[in-house]
Amino acid sequence: MAGPVTDPRGPGATTPTRRGTEAALLAFAVLITVVAQAIVDLTVTGSLRPEMATFSAWITVLWVVAHLVVRRWASYADPLLLPAVALLVGLGLTVIHRLDLASERAGEVAREDAPVQLVWATLGVTLFVAVLVVVRDHRTLSRFAYTLALLGIALLALPAVLPASISEVNGAKIWIRVAGFSIQPGEFAKICLVVFFAAYLVDKRDVLALASKKVAGLELPRGRDLGPVLLAWILSILVLVFERDLGSSLLLFGIFVVMLYVATERASWLFIGLALFAGGAMIAYQIFAHVQARVDTWLDPSAYYDGAGYQLMQSLFGLGTGGLFGAGLGGGRPDQVPVAKSDFIAAAVGEELGLFGLVAVIVVYLILVERGLRTSLVVRDAFGKLLAAGLAFAIAWQVFVVLGGVTGLLPLTGLTTPFLAYGGSSLVANFVLVALLVRISDAARRPATPHAPSMRLGDAPTEVVTP
C-alpha cells in the first residue's frame, strides 16, 4: 500500500471495489482452462471433441455468474479469491478429463468423470451464490454456532455409525454412498466446526488466555481450561478410531489448535497441542496397523513397492519423469498412478506440467491462503477474524498435508486436494468455504460506514479499529 491515494482505507479516497481486476483475472483463468482442455484433446486424440464448445460456454457462464453475484452482493470482496479458485477448478477439470481419455484409450469402460465434476462445480457455484445471497453479514453465523457444532459432529459421526457397505471405501469409513453418488460428509463438517470454533473461542478467549504459571518463558493455561482442547483432541482420536481417517483427524485438530492460538495469543496452546498430537500419534502408531503401515511406507516407499508403496512410488516416478517442464498435457502417463484423479491429482499435474506447473499450483494455493489470512488481519470483528483465519488455515493445512503426502514429505493421509481433485463433496464444501471468505473479505475491505458523515468530516489520519 504505497501512497495515501491508493490506500483503500485512506481518508477522503473512495475505496476501489477491484471488481474489474477480478473480472480480468477470471477471464484469464477461463482462457487457461479452455486452452488447456484444447491441448489435452489435440495431444491425446488429435482433434477437438465437439463437447468443447459446450464446456467452454458452461465454464464461462459459471464464472460470469459467480462474478456478477460477488459484484452485486459482496462488491468489496478480495479480487484474488475467486480467480484463484477458478484457475484451480479449471485445471482440475482439465486433468480429470485428461485421465478420462487415458482410461478410454486403455479400453476401460469407465464413466467419464470430468462431466460429473463439472456438475459438482456447478452445484458448488450455486452454493457459493446461495451463501453470498443468504449470509449478508458473516456475524449472523455466530448465532448458529452451537447448532452448527451439533450438525458438524453429526456429519462427522454419520459414516461411523452407518454400516460399512454404505460408508467404507478402501478401509476409510468416511463416506455415504447413495444411489451412485458418494458423499464425504466430513468435508462439510470441517466448515461447520470452524464456524463453531470461531464463535466459541471469541466467547471464551479471555478465560482461555488466563495464565496460571510461567514455565521456561511460556505462560501455561490453567488446568481446568484444558477442557476444550482435550475435547477436540478426543474428537480427533474418535475420528481416527471409528473412521480410520488419519487425514480428517489431523486436519481438525490442527485447525482447532491454530485457532486457539490466534484467539488467545498464547503460544503455550501450540505447545500443548503439539504435545497432545505427539501423544496421539504415538498411541495411534502403536495401536493401529494401518497407521504403522502408512508410516513405514512413507519412510521407505521403495521397499514396499509391490504393496502399499506402489502408489507413492508411481507418483514419484511420474514427478521425476516430468522433471522441470513436464511431459506436456496429454504427453505423460499419469494414469499409472492409482487413483490419480482424486488423491494423487498433484502427481498428474507434476508429471505433465513439470516442476514449473506444480510450483505454480502451489503458489496459487498460497495466494488463496494468504489472501484469506490478510482478510482475517483486516476485518474488524473478532469473530470474522477468527473465522477467516480458521478457513484460510484449513485450506493451507489440507494442501500441505495432501501435497506433502503425494510427494513423500509426509505419510499419506487420504485427504483430497481442494478444488483440484475429483470428488463432489470436497469441491462443493470448499466452494462454501470460499464463499464465506469472500463474504468476510467484503466486510473487511468495505469502508467502515460509508454513509456516516462523521467519518468524512473527521479527516482523521488513522482509523480507530477496535479488535
Binding site: A106, L319, G354, L377, F400, L409
Partner: protein
C-alpha cells in the same frame, strides 16, 4: 489477534516453501534416478509405440514385437519363451528389461546412435520408427538339447565353438516364460511375476553366467596345465597316496569315497587325471607352488572381472590361498575356487583350440531396421594361456578321462571325446555340485561344452557327462 495471525501467515509460507523445496528435490535432483528406475515404466511405455527389433536365432525370431489393437501398439512375444529365456530376459511394462533385452536395448529400441540419422529421416518421411535386430550365434539344436538335458534339475550348460568363441548354446534351469511378464496388463504381469519368483530357486537367473560355483575336479585340468608348463609330461610319475595329510595341519585329504588311486601309492599324471585322483593333484599343486597354480588359473581367465558377452559375466576366481594346505585344496578345485559355467566351457575350448582362448560372444550381427548390418562380431583371440604342445598333452589326458576314466558317460560313437568330470563339495549336509566339461571331436574340435548341475547329489560322471554327450550329439546331428 493480529500478532499471532502474522505468525500463522509466516508459518504457512514456511510450510509451502517446504513443499516447493521438496518438489524441487524430486523433480530436479532425483529426476534422473527416478526416470531411470527400472520399475518406472513411463519411459518404457513410450517404447511400446515403436516396433522393437527382434532377437533372432538361426533365422527365427525368439523375441519379437507384434502389432495389436490395444492401447500400446506393440506386444512383445517370445515364441519359444522358456527355451531362450536365460538369454533374452524380458521386456516388461512393469518390471523393465533384463539380459539381452536390457543390454541390447539401444539397438532393439532404435535409440542407438548409429540409428540416429534414420530416426531423423523417419521424422520427415512419416515412416514409423522401428528398432534394429540382434542375431545370435546360438545353434537351436544345441540349445534345445541343453535345456532338455537339464529338465527337472537346477543347473546350466554352455556350448562354444572353440575356434571362434561363438556361443552355440546357453541353457539355465529352472527357466520361465518371459512372455508372461511382457503383456500389456500390469495386474496380470504382476500376478505372473509373483508366480515366477515364487518358486525356489529363482528362474530369472541365468546360472551360466550370473553366478560362480566351486568347480571341484574340473580345476585339475588347470593344475595339470601348470605341471606340464613346469616340465612334467603325462607320463611323469607322481605320488598318489591314499590319505594325504595337509602340510602344517592334522587335516587329511582323501579320494572320492575314500578309495585308493594306486596300490603303489604313485602313478602317471595321465592316470591321475583319468581317475581324478585327489591326493595326487593336491600334492602336485603343493609341489608346484602357489605362484605356478595361480598364474595358470589367471592365464585361463580366472580373476578377470568385467567380462561381457555382451551379457555381464560374474568373475571366476581362484580365491585366497593362505597356506600350503589351502593350496592343496585349491589344486583340486575346492577351498575358495569359484568358476562360472561359461568359464568352465572356456577352459575346455582353450584346450580344444590349441591353447588359444577365443573371446566368447553371443551376438553374431546387429542389424538396422532395413536389415543392413550395423556391426558383426569378428572372432578374436582373448588369451593364450598354454602352448599348442601342452594343449595336445592335455587333450590326450582328457581323452583318457572319457575313454577309460570318470567321464565314460560322455563317449560318442565314431569320434573321440575329451573331457573332465567334477564333483564339488559345497558344505556339510548339502548335496555336491556335478560338473562336466569337454569337447569333440578330440582331434579336430568343433564344440566345447560345460555342464553344471547344482546340488545334483550324484557325480559329474554320472549326472553331467550324459547331458554333455547329448548336447554334443545334437550338434553333430544338426551338422548332418
Amino acid at each position: 489477534m493480529n500478532a499471532p495471525l502474522r505468525r500463522v501467515a509466516i508459518s504457512v509460507l514456511v510450510l509451502f516453501t517446504l513443499l516447493i523445496v521438496n518438489v524441487n528435490i524430486i523433480q530436479v535432483v532425483r529426476s534422473e534416478s527416478l526416470r531411470g528406475d527400472n520399475r518406472n515404466t513411463r519411459v518404457l511405455a513410450e517404447t511400446y509405440d515403436r516396433e522393437r527389433g527382434s532377437i533372432i536365432v538361426d533365422g527365427n525370431e525368439v523375441a519379437m514385437s507384434v502389432p495389436t489393437d490395444g492401447r500400446l501398439t506393440y506386444l512383445r512375444t517370445y515364441p519359444q519363451g522358456p527355451l531362450y529365456a536365460p538369454i533374452t530376459g524380458y521386456h516388461s511394462l512393469v518390471y523393465g528389461n533384463t539380459y539381452l533385452e536390457d543390454v541390447m536395448d539401444d539397438v532393439l529400441s532404435g535409440e542407438d546412435d548409429r540409428l540416429f540419422v534414420r530416426r531423423i529421416a523417419d521424422l520427415f518421411t512419416g515412416r514409423d520408427p522401428a528398432g534394429g535386430d540382434v542375431v545370435l550365434t546360438l545353434d537351436p539344436d544345441v540349445q534345445a538339447a541343453a535345456m532338455a538335458g537339464l529338465d527337472g534339475l537346477t543347473g546350466a550348460v554352455v556350448a562354444l565353438d572353440p575356434a571362434t568363441g561363438a556361443i552355440l548354446g546357453m541353457a539355465s534351469t529352472p527357466t520361465y516364460d518371459p512372455g508372461l511378464v511382457a503383456g500389456h496388463d500390469p495386474e496380470a504381469i504382476r500376478q505372473n511375476m509373483e508366480q515366477i519368483t515364487g518358486s525356489d530357486p529363482d528362474p530369472r537367473v541365468n546360472r551360466a553366467i550370473a553366478d560362480n560355483y566351486p568347480p571341484g575336479s574340473l580345476f585339475k585340468v588347470i593344475t595339470a596345465a601348470a605341471a606340464l608348463q613346469e616340465g612334467y609330461t603325462p607320463e611323469t610319475v607322481v605320488p598318489a597316496v591314499d590319505l594325504l595329510t595337509l602340510p602344517q595341519t592334522t587335516q587329511t585329504l582323501s579320494n572320492f569315497n575314500g578309495s585308493s588311486c594306486s596300490s603303489s601309492q604313485e602313478q602317471r599324471l595321465i592316470d591321475s587325471l583319468t581317475i581324478s585322483c585327489n591326493t595326487a593333484f593336491a600334492q602336485l599343486g603343493i609341489d608346484l607352488g602357489e605362484e605356478s597354480i595361480r598364474e595358470m588359473a589367471e592365464a585361463f581367465g580366472l580373476d578377470d572381472e568385467g567380462q561381457e558377452i555382451p551379457l555381464d559375466v560374474a568373475p571366476s576366481t581362484i580365491g585366497e590361498i593362505e597356506s600350503a594346505a589351502a593350496l592343496g585344496q585349491t589344486s583340486i578345485g575346492q577351498r575358495d575356487v569359484r568358476m562360472t559355467v561359461l568359464q568352465a566351457a572356456l577352459v575346455a575350448a582353450t584346450v580344444a583350440n590349441d591353447g588359444r582362448q577365443m573371446r566368447p560372444y553371443l551376438i553374431d550381427e546387429q542389424r538396422a531396421p532395413d536389415l543392413s548390418v550395423l556391426e558383426s562380431t569378428d572372432p578374436e583371440v582373448l588369451r593364450e594361456p598354454i602352448s599348442a604342445e601342452i594343449a595336445d598333452q592335455l587333450t590326450e589326458m582328457m581323452v583318457s578321462v572319457v575313454a577309460r576314466g570318470s567321464g565314460r558317460a560322455a563317449r560318442l560313437p565314431g569320434m573321440e571325446v575329451a573331457g573332465k568330470t567334477g564333483t564339488a563339495q559345497v558344505r556339510e549336509g548339502v548335496p555336491d555340485h556335478n560338473w562336466f566339461m569337454g569337447f569333440a571331436p578330440a582331434d579336430d574340435p568343433e564344440i566345447a561344452v560345460a555342464v553344471f548341475v547344482a546340488n545334483g547329489g550324484s557325480t559329474g560322471g554320472d549326472l553331467s557327462a550324459p547331458i554333455a554327450r547329448d548336447v554334443m550329439a545334437a550338434y553333430f546331428e544338426g551338422q548332418g
